[in-house]
């Protein structure tokens, strides 16, 4: 923890971090100061007046907490009658023109206006004039839908587009009670982080075209996860629900704060990658074109392995470290060649230095750590020499065209452990359904050498197996995640103090020597 200072809140002494404003400093010890316009990533704006507090040192009677740095000995007043009155009054003002359409509003259940209304005084409306009418259901582009009447003009979305993405599509048009957020005609939102404004919006003014009306938020189960969309490894919340008699469905990914990795945000591509977890999945094991029970298919795999002279094994750069060590041990046992060849996952020049990386694989650093060869030459040579290729979910269609792939694999039998029912798994002789990253626990190393762990969030009806389990069933000596993690410790001394489930939530920054260890 950083340096601390002591100050008083409602006469009670609390110890808080220095260098923060009152909202963050006091908020960190569990005392909430209500605020709408302030967001830690966007800074203080001071326009909503919801965070007004009293400081007993001769200053003006009310100061905005977002603009007031916490100082030692400060006497902060939150529960005095005049503070409560101002909070209630601000709520009343915010609600003058706010439509009471909570039952049909997508934000209901995670709306600051709802929460604050209930907490801070529940003012009754005294208005006898008609409410100001504005536009609704405006398509701002990039999947953002705006309702001007619900807006509290806190300006978070405007500041996000100006300060974070630096694209500035949004502005607050007009003034006084006619003020509203809008785009300039013909210049819609056009950036790769647009849907963050939906998260930032404290009310239901910004909604996501993708998510709205799909699910009431209070039905969603929330589980932490790591986005596997690129090498950044943004921390996410996986929000899913199993409706009666249905499968467990993911409804959205939302960014989860990790200052070391992604901060408060994530890109739209990563956010919408939840769809791939739900759709197009390989649901049953296949022997040729026939669906068979998994046990039969695994038995067939074992026969193929026994019959094959030489075996090549291919790993996906999206596999977790545990899966990689399990498959590596399998390769050693079968005396098979092992490759992580996956240049097709890299989209040169696609990264932007913000959160999007060129490399669309989540754990390429893991392949390097385990010393797994990733060159094209050795992979292609291994495939040509082998009678059997076992592909652990490496999407070769990203690297090869269909005709190249057919040519490459024409004399080779292919077993694929695949998440998706696609061209690639259709080409395989044997296909085994496996879990996607939201369905198993594992660890990854991101592009900045930060090791992060995640737990399984979703359990699907078709119960796909983890690649680690499949490797174990095919003969890998590492039978459980504990054994796999123990094996990992041989590569990463930093893990000696940790178990798989005790790695810190913000991840472990691997130091230079460990990064150097990587290629050894």
């Amino acid at each position: 923890m950083a340096d601390t200072i002591k100050l008083f809140v409602n006469g009670v002494e609390v110890e808080v971090e220095t260098g923060k404003n009152l909202i963050d400093a006091i908020g960190a010890v569990g005392i909430e100061i209500p605020h709408l316009c302030y967001h830690p990533a966007l800074g203080a704006d001071g326009n909503c007046r919801m965070c007004l507090v009293g400081i007993e040192d001769g200053r003006p009677p009310l100061v905005p907490a977002c603009k007031t740095p916490a100082q030692a000995g400060m006497k902060v007043l939150l529960d005095a009658a005049h503070i409560k009155k101002i909070q209630r009054d601000v709520m009343e003002l915010e609600l003058i023109n706010h439509p009471t359409d909570c039952p049909i509003c997508d934000q209901a259940g995670e709306c600051k206006l709802q929460d604050y209304y209930m907490t801070y005084g529940r003012p009754e409306s005294r208005m006898t004039v008609p409410q100001v009418q504005k536009s609704k259901k405006l398509d701002f582009g990039c999947g953002v839908v705006h309702d001007q009447e619900r807006c509290v003009t806190c300006g978070r979305c405007v500041r996000f587009c100006r300060e974070i993405t630096k694209t500035g599509e949004l502005g607050i048009i007009n003034r006084t009670d006619d003020a509203r957020v809008n785009i300039f005609p013909g210049r819609p939102i056009n950036n790769r982080y647009a849907l963050n404004v939906v998260d930032l919006c404290p009310v239901g003014a910004m909604t996501s075209k993708d998510f709205r009306f799909k699910q009431r938020v209070w039905f969603l189960k929330k589980a932490p996860g790591i986005c596997h969309g690129c090498a950044k490894g943004c921390n996410i919340t996986i929000e899913h629900n199993r409706e009666k008699y249905q499968d467990d469905i993911i409804y959205r990914f939302r960014p989860r704060l990790n200052r070391q990795v992604n901060g408060y945000f994530m890109c739209d591509a990563g956010r919408l990658s939840y769809r791939q977890e739900n759709e197009g999945r390989l649901l049953a094991a296949r022997l040729g074109s026939q669906i068979r029970p998994l046990e039969d298919v695994l038995a067939a795999c074992t026969r193929e392995i026994e019959q094959a002279g030489k075996i090549a094994i291919l790993l996906s750069p999206n596999c977790s470290l545990e899966q990689m060590v399990a498959v590596k041990a399998l390769a050693a046992k079968l005396q098979a060649s092992l490759s992580g060849f996956s240049t097709g996952y890299i989209k040169e020049g696609d990264g932007d230095g913000l959160l999007i990386e060129d490399d669309k694989a989540a754990n390429r650093a893991g392949l390097a750590l385990l010393g797994i060869d990733c060159s094209r030459e050795s992979f292609e040579k291994a495939v040509r020499d082998a009678q059997l290729l076992i592909n652990f979910n490496n999407d070769l269609t990203r690297t090869y065209s269909d005709s190249e792939l057919k040519k490459l694999l024409k004399d080779t039998k292919v077993i694929i452990a695949a998440t998706h029912d696609d061209r690639l798994s259709a080409m395989a002789d044997i296909a085994i359904p496996v879990a996607t990253s939201s369905e198993y626990a594992g660890s990854l190393i991101n592009c900045h050498n930060i090791l992060q762990t995640f737990a399984g969030a979703v359990s699907r009806n078709h119960k796909p197996a983890n690649i680690g389990e499949i490797a174990a069933k095919l003969g890998s000596p590492l039978q459980s995640r504990a054994e796999q993690f123990a094996e990992l410790r041989k590569y990463l001394s930093v893990l000696k103090d940790f178990e798989a489930d005790t790695v810190p939530a913000e991840g472990l920054k691997l130091n230079e020597s460990e990064a150097a260890n990587v290629t050894a």
């Binding site: 500035g168 048009i173 007009n174 003034r175 006619d178 809008n182 300039f184 005609p185 210049r187």
Partner: protein
């Protein structure tokens, strides 16, 4: 206040004329940041065209190098920027305290009657547009009518009649 967010598109690109182009370049040297030019460059448009179109806003935003949304904010915030075509002669009658006490209503009523338009409207022949505005800062010589930017002080109906006759 009213909603000023509906911009009018002319359907053709906007450009400063030669004189305003030079003025823009002269003014921009005055300011520490290019964004400071938003308000003056909007005045230049209004001077040239009489009003400010969607294309003109996009033009100055791109020329200054700022977000069109920022210029859009400024132009809708300040009510003296006209966002639709005005009459050839634009009449502003001050309606703030001093002018009100000194008889602005008589002037407005006369104009309404004479021109057949209410404040905020343009006469059918396009000769006049009428607007009631907030304090013009000439309280000592109230009531004040501003015609095409020029102040006419101590106004009454007779003086206004003579003035209107001169305006084409």
């Amino acid at each position: 206040m009213s909603d000023r967010s509906q911009l009018i598109s002319t359907g053709k690109p906007f450009q400063y004329d030669k004189e305003r182009d030079a003025e823009f370049e002269r003014l921009i040297k005055r300011y520490p940041t290019r964004e400071s030019m938003i308000l003056p460059s909007l005045w230049l448009i209004q001077e040239q065209e009489g009003w400010i179109s969607q294309e003109a806003i996009a033009y100055v935003a791109d020329r200054i190098g700022t977000f069109a949304s920022k210029v859009y904010e400024a132009v809708t915030f300040y009510t003296m920027y006209q966002l639709h075509p005005m009459g050839r002669n634009h009449l502003c009658v001050c309606r703030t305290l001093s002018c009100w006490l000194r008889g602005k209503q008589e002037i407005v009523d006369y104009l309404k009657n004479e021109l057949g338009i209410s404040p905020g409207q343009i006469s059918e022949d396009g000769r006049f547009s009428l607007e009631e505005v907030e304090c013009l800062g000439h309280c000592g010589t109230a009531p004040v009518v501003q015609v095409n930017g020029e102040f006419h002080e101590n106004m009454d109906v007779a003086k206004l009649k003579a003035l209107l006759a001169k305006l084409q």
